[in-house]
Structures are given as C-alpha cells and as structure tokens.
Amino acid sequence: MQRRDGARRSEETVEAGSARTVRSAPAASPLLLLQATAGNRAVAHAVQRRRAGDERPTTPHVRFGSRGPEVEEVQASLNAAGVTPVLETDQIFGRLTLANVKAFQEMSGLAPDGVVGPLTREALARSNSGGAPTPAGEGTDHRSGTGPPTAQQVAGIQAHLNPATPGGGVMGPWDGAGSDAQAQANRDALAAELTAALEAMVARAHPRAQERQRLRHVPVRDFEGAGNQAKRYVDATYGGLTSAAVLTRAQRHQRASFSFQAGRTLLDTTDPSQYQVDVADTADWMAETGKDAKTATRAHSFDKSRSQQERSFLDTHVLAPFVARHRAQIELMDRYLFATAFGGRVWMAPVIEASTDFPDTPGADGSPSPAERRARWGEWETLVHEYIHTLEHPGFSDATRSRRIMTEGFCEMFTKEVLEQAIPAAKADSDPELRKGVEGSMPDGRPFPGFQPTLVPDYSPGAYAEYLSHAEAVRDQLGAGGRNAVRAAFFTGHVELIGLTPRGAAATPAAAGDDELVAVPEGIRSIGALAVLTGSSEETIRQANGNLPQGAPLPHGMVRVPGVRHHVVVEARDGRERQTEGRAEIADQHGVTEAALERANPGVRWASLTAGQRILVPVH
C-alpha cells in the first residue's frame, strides 16, 4: 500500500511539473535557419517562446472520471494489449476502465494506481508494438561517449591544467623561496633571466608595433563583415550545443542580439578615445607567455599565481624596472599587437599591411587592395577566436581560476576546429556569402574579382600553441568521448566531464562503470518495468546484474543498466538571476526526447531542478 501511494505521488508530480512530451525541434538548425532568414531578434523571441512552453503541460494524465479522446485512446490500447474484459471505447473512464488499467499496471510491473501517466503510456505503447521500445533518441547526442572521469583521467587532466604547480605533478617549489644565500642567488638569477627575456621580446616586438603604426589605418567598420562571417561559421559548428546551454535571460539576450558592430562591440585599440593601454598588464602577459621567459620560470620552478611572495617578486623585481625603462615601447605594443575583450566588447587594430605578394593597391574595379583583402581574411580568423570567447559558458568561467590553458587554450582548440573546416572552404571559394561578407562586394552585389587562395592565411595558433597543446591533451585524456566532453564543459558549463568541481578544483573521481548504476525508482517492481523506464531491455539488465534468470525479481538498491548515463544539472548565474537547466536543455544536450527523460525520472520536479541534481538519461 505504501508503495502504491508512492507511485501515485510520482505520477502526479510528473503531471504538476509537466511539459511537452515530445521536443519541438532538433537542436540547432531551425534556430540557425531562423537567424539567417529573420535575424537575431526572431531567434530571441523563438527561444523565449520555447522557454515559456517548458511550463505548459501537454499530454494529460487520464484517471477515473476523465472523459474525451485521450480516454478512448487508452481504452483502445488496453484492448489491443489483450486486457479483458474488452472495453467499449466510449471516451468515459469508468469503473471497468479503471479495473483494466490497474490490471495492466500490475502486469507491467508498475504500481497499480489506476492513473495513466507517462510510464503507463510507455508500457501500453510498448505492449501494442509487440514489445519494441518507443525510440528515446532524437537529434544530435552532444554527450555521446562522455562520463565522469576516472582517477587516472582526473590526475592526467590536472597535470595539464596546472603544469607549473606541484599538484600538477610537474614542478617542485620555487628555488628562490627560502631566506638563505642560495635562494637569494636563485632570485637574482631568475630576475636577470626574466629581464633578459623581456628585453629581447621588446627588441623583437617593438619594431613590429612601430611598423604596424606606420601602416595605413582603416575604419574598424571595414572588419564588421569578417567578424560576422566568423560568427556564422562558429554558430554553424557549435550552435546546436550553445542553444542547449542554460543561460540567464540577460546572457541569452546578449547572445541572441550579438553582432560585430563598429563603435559598439568592435572597437579600435589605436584610437585613444576607444582604448586605454595598460603597460603593466602587457608586461605581465609577456612574462607569462614569452618563450624564453617560460624557460626561465620553469628552470626555477617559479609560478606567479602560486603565492603572494612569487607574485610580489615578479611585480617588484622584474616588471616594475622593466616597465619604467620601456613604457613607451610597451604602450605601442599594447595598441598594435594585441586584441582585448572587456565588458562584452572586442578591440582590435585596423591596419593594412602591404607586401610584395599583397600590394596595397586597390583594384581598378573598386575592389580593396590585395593587402586589405588579406588583412580582412586574417581578422576573420582572429575574430573566430574572439567570438568563441563570447560563448564561454558562465559555469566554465567559474571553474577556470584564471588558468589560461582553460580560457585561451580551450578557446583556441575550438578555433582550430572551426578554421580547419572553414579555411579550406574559404580558399576553395566555395561559399560566396563568406567571401562577400569578408571582402565586401561590387555595387551590383557580385563578389570582387581576382580572388586568390593565398589571400586566406593558413591556420596557426600563434602565441597560444602551448596552451592549445595542453587543452588538446585534456581532451585526449578522455578518450573517444573527449571531444564531446571538452565541448560540453566550455559551451554548456559541464565541467564535471573534465573532472572539475564547479569552482574549478579536482573532482572526486568516479569508478569505472558507476555512471550505469541506477537507483530503482519507487513504484518500479520488475526488471521489465525498469527496462521500459531506462530504454534498455530485460535481457541486457539481467545479464549485467549477474545473469539473473528470466522472471527473477528486481534486485534491491542499485541496478546496473548498460548504456544509461547520468546528467548533473548545472546553472547559469548573473548578478540578478539564476537559471537552472530544465528538461528541454538536458534533452537537447543528450539527443533524447523529453518524453524519454520524463519516463526515466518519475518523481522529478522538472520545474525546480537544482544544481548538482542527477538526472538519468536513458539508453538511446
């Protein structure tokens, strides 16, 4: 009796928090199509409508006293399932229908509460189709192959995320940390080596900045098209996943309305009214990223982010005297060699560099000079990276702890994925929209003549090659599911898939196969019913649990169901609002129907999921 009441509660809970039984559309392409045809605002409205739709119940529960076509459908299904006595399909849920529903529920291993909800419907459908389960899969499974990392994987990931810390397993303590003479000598040596590295970098880079300063400047507006083509290619690659991410309303609005617009979201580092330089920050970046500087810090096991002592040493004994000597040079480098993001805006230096191969001579037909065309293609590649930064999920940001391997290495890893597809397409000139967007077009709308594949620079990670290699090593630690795991972490905030807690610490590892252990929900009484719920088969479950004989009772406690996985609910926050993932987002990420999710998780209150809650994703 207790069990029966529990099951009834489950059905009603599902009803109270119910939503659509079948998802509205495959994840990405309709939104991208809508964006292309009707613009970002239309996409934003569609998303809002869809989110509003999450709260609408659709498939009604049917119970004693119900009337209507839904009742007729149930009566017909009961008859087709062979439950007797045969019912008249009169659309009235009376005592005979109630008795048959209960009898069918008993037969199916469900609690006989007489309420026809998603579990009973599924069992009826399965019975009517000769035992074949209703397909759970729909759309792209963005989480295929993923799962909680094992201890070995967590350790490997930590080593790549923290290559300079003892926890990362690579370096020992700073050799200049003590107060003895040797430590002092080590500090002096490090200061000298770092300073020499920085001086050498200025000697190499400042002439480059001066050169760029002398180049022809063009309005930053000329690069809007390159930026928006970058956005188009990134959205085409990751739109299905980013649209399945939970975001606050403000975050969602910003994404939906974002485009590269000169003077607003795309700004000019060379214009003092648009960009303030920060020489110390630039020098710090050089000390962290420069090749020789990295060699020096590694040789001394030095990590500026590890302790106040190390940070203070770098600031006082290296950067302060260096900046004092080279302030003007560093200012120029900041303006001409860097792009910067702040507060939802991107800054770049819009200059045109000529060469023998790409002279700065405009075409007679009004086309931009080869130098300018080459510059626009180069910025198209840069802005792929910069636009991907805007798609970093706030849950991922919370976990980065300012580690550039996460902020820049991951971003570059996805930049590479996009550009390795897009650059060949650009060089082959197989996408007229791309070329016109980047280079501009003739007054009649035709693309400019004279395109050469060499106008499009080859892919290079540039200064971020090392961060990229660590990010790719994190991905590769996770085996076949690694690509989906790093994508899910970056774009949807699921950092647990790369072995991190929401605050970025190393997570407690999972034992292999743990993700397939299912807690039997209240109201489920047989292996057959559990098979319906999980999308598995009775035989598979029996085999995975010690080759149970046919007709064996459902084991108590946890049951292994091969092929299921668990989804850990994440949230997005801003200063005003928290949004937790809902059924639609979870379904979209895993490529399952909402109905299948609902069926697999009886008793879950979908309208009020909490961060960290585990949701069972059925086999699909």
């Binding site: 480059r208 910003q254 110390a280 920050d281 507060g343």
Partner: protein, 171 residues
C-alpha cells in the same frame, strides 16, 4: 555629496577626489543628461555591456578634444550604478593623499598586476597597478559598507587580453 567634486574629477581634476562621497542614491541618466547633454556614444539596447557577471547599458561622455578622458555611465534601466572615469594613468599617491588608506584591497579583474582599492565612504573602486604604482581605472559607485562595495558589479569588472593570431607578436 560632492556633485561639484564629481564634476571636477570628470573634467580631469584629480584634486576633486578628496571631496567625493559616492554617487547619490537613485542618480538617473536623465539628470546627468540634463547636466551634460547628450552622450557622444549613446546606449545600445542590443549590445549590453557587462560588469562582472551582470549586464548593463552604458553610455559615454567625452570632452571635445580630449580623447583619453571622460566618463562612461553604467546604468540599469536609467538608474546609474557606476561611473567609470577615464583619464591618463596617475600616481596612486594622489588618491591616497585624497582619501587615505583604502578600506580594503582586493584582487582586480582588470589584469593580474593590478589590485583594487575600495574606499567605501567615498564610493571609489580604484584599480591600482602594483608595478607602476598608478591608478589605471577608477569606478565611482554609491557609498556603502566595504562588503557591499566589494560585492558590487563594478568591483567584479573583468578584462581579458589575447594577442593577434597572425604572428604579429614575435615571442
């Protein structure tokens, strides 16, 4: 509250810092517009700007002929939440002489070599370079408790830097 002091600081006169007492509660963009006229860069409802994790509209006032000074007004539906004062970097001792020791020094999201000085009663959040000893960015918000200012959106402003990707930075 020192509206005059604010005007002086906005005009680039850092001596006005000593008289700052924070933004008046409920200060509206309309009242600033009445005082300063139309901004040179108005709000863009389709491109909210972010302070930390919170979106706002932002408009910019820039004195004519002075490209590196001025004020950016961060507001929430017309209510000003922060003024970002733009100016050439200046020695932080000027700020210290005007306002004394900061109530608390926290980390800065605007570069790892910066720290953030919070002067709660003056409503000032100053990002100070540990390397050059200069104030590089200064926000003015409503005066309040140190904890309230430390938790305010302006205190969580962030900037990221990355080099051009086309080999322009020889490392």
């Amino acid at each position: 509250m020192g509206t005059d002091a604010l005007e002086r600081v906005v005009a680039g006169d850092v001596s006005g810092l000593r008289d700052l007492r924070g933004l008046p509660p409920g200060l509206s963009v309309d009242s600033l517009a009445a005082r300063w006229g139309p901004p040179d860069l108005p709000d863009d409802p389709d491109a909210p700007a972010w302070l930390g994790d919170q979106p706002f509209a932002v408009r910019r006032y820039r004195p004519e002929g002075s490209p590196a000074t001025g004020v950016q007004v961060w507001h929430d539906d017309g209510v000003v939440v922060a003024l970002q004062l733009d100016f050439p970097a200046f020695d932080a001792t000027v700020l210290h002489n005007a306002l004394g020791d900061p109530d608390v020094v926290t980390s800065s999201g605007l570069g790892t070599t910066n720290e953030q000085w919070i002067h709660a009663t003056a409503g000032v959040l100053a990002h100070v370079s540990r390397v050059t000893g200069e104030v590089v960015t200064l926000f003015m918000v409503a005066a309040g408790s140190t904890a309230a200012l430390a938790a305010s959106p302006a205190a969580r402003a962030e900037r990221r830097r990355w080099p051009r990707r086309t080999g322009d930075l020889p490392l």
